[in-house]
């Protein structure tokens, strides 16, 4: 999953960046409103983490122009502005959730998962298909009744496919979910992880749509 982090505070930014990467999200970090606009126009993101008090262009402006362009990306506002009026304004401007600083990292991660789940049109937290059950919150995967351990990269490939069963993702799209701007991409990485996943979870779970990409069948 590829996230855009908009945060002008260097200390908060670098911490969140590292912690999200440790959770195998591909994260890009920008420090002001203009850069956020540019990033959102040049790249598809699965979720936007938006601070409000930004230099150059306020977070709310970024959000409004985003919604004006009919982008449906989930937006989670993280800010120190705590007044009820500001929260209402943020949500009414098109945010999906509002998290006050200082926040707990686990809560941030849970809200990110919830937003991603909702964006995929699902309400149930656990995905189940043909004897394979996957819990995105705990990353517990059960195949044929026994637990399976996935590597971080394998998980990073599986998650976007699981997020919207039935939707075909191209190799390039999967690569995007896998790597942030500064990461190096190896040419056949996606194939390698798909291969590993099929070995662990059975060949049926991830299906190849020839010439287009990969998908997980609808449960």
């Amino acid at each position: 999953m590829r996230l855009l982090l908009v945060e002008d505070d260097t200390m908060i930014g670098e911490s969140v960046l590292d912690l999200l990467r440790a959770e195998n999200y591909a994260v890009d970090w920008v420090k002001d409103g203009d850069m956020a606009e540019t990033a959102l126009r040049s790249q598809d993101y699965d979720l936007l983490l938006l601070d409000l008090g930004l230099p150059r262009r306020d977070g709310l402006q970024v959000l409004r122009s985003l919604r004006a362009r009919r982008l449906r990306i989930p937006v989670l506002i993280t800010t120190a502005r705590d007044a009820v009026q500001q929260r209402i304004e943020g949500l009414d401007a098109g945010a999906d959730d509002y998290l006050l600083k200082p926040y707990d990292l686990d809560e941030l991660l849970a809200r990110i998962r919830a937003l991603l789940r909702r964006a995929a049109g699902r309400a149930e937290p656990i995905y189940e298909h043909q004897g394979v059950s996957i819990d995105p919150a705990t990353r517990e995967v059960m195949a044929a009744g026994r637990p399976v351990v996935l590597s971080a990269r394998e998980w990073a490939v599986l998650e976007p496919l699981l997020a919207r069963p039935g939707l075909v993702l191209s190799r390039a799209q999967l690569e995007e979910k896998l790597y942030g701007w500064k990461d190096e991409i190896s040419s056949n990485a996606v194939e390698v992880y798909i291969h590993g996943l099929r070995k662990k979870l059975g060949a049926d779970l991830i299906q190849n749509v020839r010439g287009v990409g990969y998908m997980v069948p609808k449960a």
Partner: protein, 444 residues
């Protein structure tokens, strides 16, 4: 003086004034009564004397006047007239039953007779002794009536006067109780002014001072409120950073990651510490401004030398050449400690943003009737569009790596405002970085 828990100007005035009126009226009444009686005495005596003398001139050499003379008995009941010859024979008496003993005392005397006291005047003529007497009881009664007639107006006027005083005192003190009422009804945060119109000269200055005090308290209150609003927002960011850094440390799996996390956490704590310190400086500064302590003559150059030596260590640590240029020793009016903080913040900022090996210069000179303190640095400077905003509290420029509190220039601005000084940000022609000019009005 004894403490009066319920000291009231009105009660005090009324008590004293009413008591004074009462005492004066009593004293006046008593004196009038007494002197009226004494005067009546004198007048009656005079009458008796005149009567005796007119009798003497009317008496024949040795003969008797007519017993039923011009003195009608009833009308002159109070008076008794007797005439004696030199050999002691009574030749005339106005009322038989009122016969008085013959008296040898010539002139006035009091005589006991018929169970009462008579005032007697005896006059010696060639052949007779003429005695005119008056019953003292009757005389006193008449004198008292006269005296009472004089005292009566006083007795009537005193209560009237007391009523008037009561009314004047009460109505004069109405504005005081009105102001008191206005103040008593106030909420704790209501610091609006009390109306000064319709107040007497004695109270208006008091209310005026009260309003000035309200104004000062209100300003301090507003400053504090704004400060808290800004601070509440800005304190969360360092705390958010600290929390994330702590969680980062918790999740670090190897030594290298732990070290990175610990370093970040330490930096976060340093930043929070700096913020708290700066907040306190700013709060103290605003409290000073609100208190309106009168400024004293200070020599800016001396404070500048002090501030430069304070900042020298940190400048050296950053590898920055910090120095004092030409300084003008003219004194200005100001607060030495606040000015030291102002200069220190300018120097700290300059040192923070100047690259290692850079230069920071402080100079003081005169320009257009102002004493201008300038700090030049060889740092990146501040773009034109950001220059106004950096003076706001908690504003930090984009992309700045230095982790300031965002309060430095706000503190400078606040202190400059206190001194009526202007703060201008320009680019340094000499060093290429930022130039901050603080122009102080010269003391006159």
């Amino acid at each position: 003086m004894v403490a009066r828990p319920n000291y009231s100007l009105r009660t005090r005035l009324l008590w004293f004034l009413l008591a004074a009126i009462l005492l004066t009226a009593l004293a006046q009444g008593l004196t009038a009564y007494r002197s009226a009686r004494a005067e009546a005495d004198q007048i009656f005596d005079y009458h008796m004397q005149q009567m005796a003398m007119s009798l003497r001139s009317g008496l024949p050499g040795s003969g008797l006047g007519m017993p039923g003379s011009d003195l009608p008995e009833e009308e002159n009941f109070d008076f008794v007239v007797q005439v004696w010859t030199a050999d002691g024979l009574r030749v005339f008496e106005s009322a038989a039953r009122a016969a008085l003993p013959q008296r040898a005392v010539i002139g006035f005397s009091n005589v006991q007779a018929h169970g009462t006291t008579y005032r007697v005047f005896s006059l010696q003529s060639r052949s007779h002794v003429i005695q005119v007497a008056q019953d003292m009881a009757a005389r006193r009664e008449m004198a008292s009536k006269l005296a009472l007639r004089i005292v009566l107006p006083i007795a009537v006027m005193a209560p009237l006067l007391m009523l008037v005083v009561w009314w004047v005192v009460s109505s004069s003190l109405t504005p005081v109780s009105r102001v008191r009422g206005q103040l008593a009804q106030r909420q704790a945060d209501d610091l609006t002014e009390v109306g000064e119109t319709g107040l007497p000269d004695e109270i208006r200055p008091l209310v005026h001072e009260l309003n000035l005090l309200f104004g000062r308290v209100r300003e301090a209150f507003e400053a504090q409120k704004n400060f808290v609003a800004d601070a509440a927002h800005e304190l969360r960011s360092p705390l958010a950073a600290l929390k994330l850094q702590a969680q980062g440390l918790q999740r670090a799996h190897d030594d290298a990651a732990r070290e990175v996390a610990v370093n970040r956490l330490t930096a976060g704590i340093d930043r929070a510490t700096r913020l708290v310190e700066q907040l306190l400086v700013l709060a103290r500064q605003q409290a000073t401004a609100a208190a309106r302590t009168p400024p004293e003559p200070v020599v800016l150059a001396e404070i500048a030398r002090l501030a430069v030596s304070d900042a020298a260590a940190s400048a050296q640590a950053h590898g920055i050449d910090l120095g004092l240029g030409p300084v003008d020793e003219t004194p200005i009016r100001g607060h030495a400690e606040a000015l030291r903080i102002l200069i220190r913040n300018l120097l700290d900022n300059a040192v923070k943003y100047a690259p290692s090996g850079g230069t920071v210069d402080l100079a003081i000179g005169r320009n257009a009737g102002r004493l201008v303190l300038s700090v030049d640095d060889s740092g990146p400077g501040i773009p034109q569009e950001d220059r106004a905003r950096v003076q706001n509290r908690f504003y930090r420029m984009t992309g700045t790596q230095a982790s300031g509190s965002g309060l430095g220039l706000a503190i400078v601005k606040s202190i400059a405002d206190l001194h009526g000084a202007t703060v201008e940000l320009t680019s340094s022609a000499r060093l290429g970085g930022l130039r901050v000019e603080v122009g102080f009005p010269l003391a006159r």
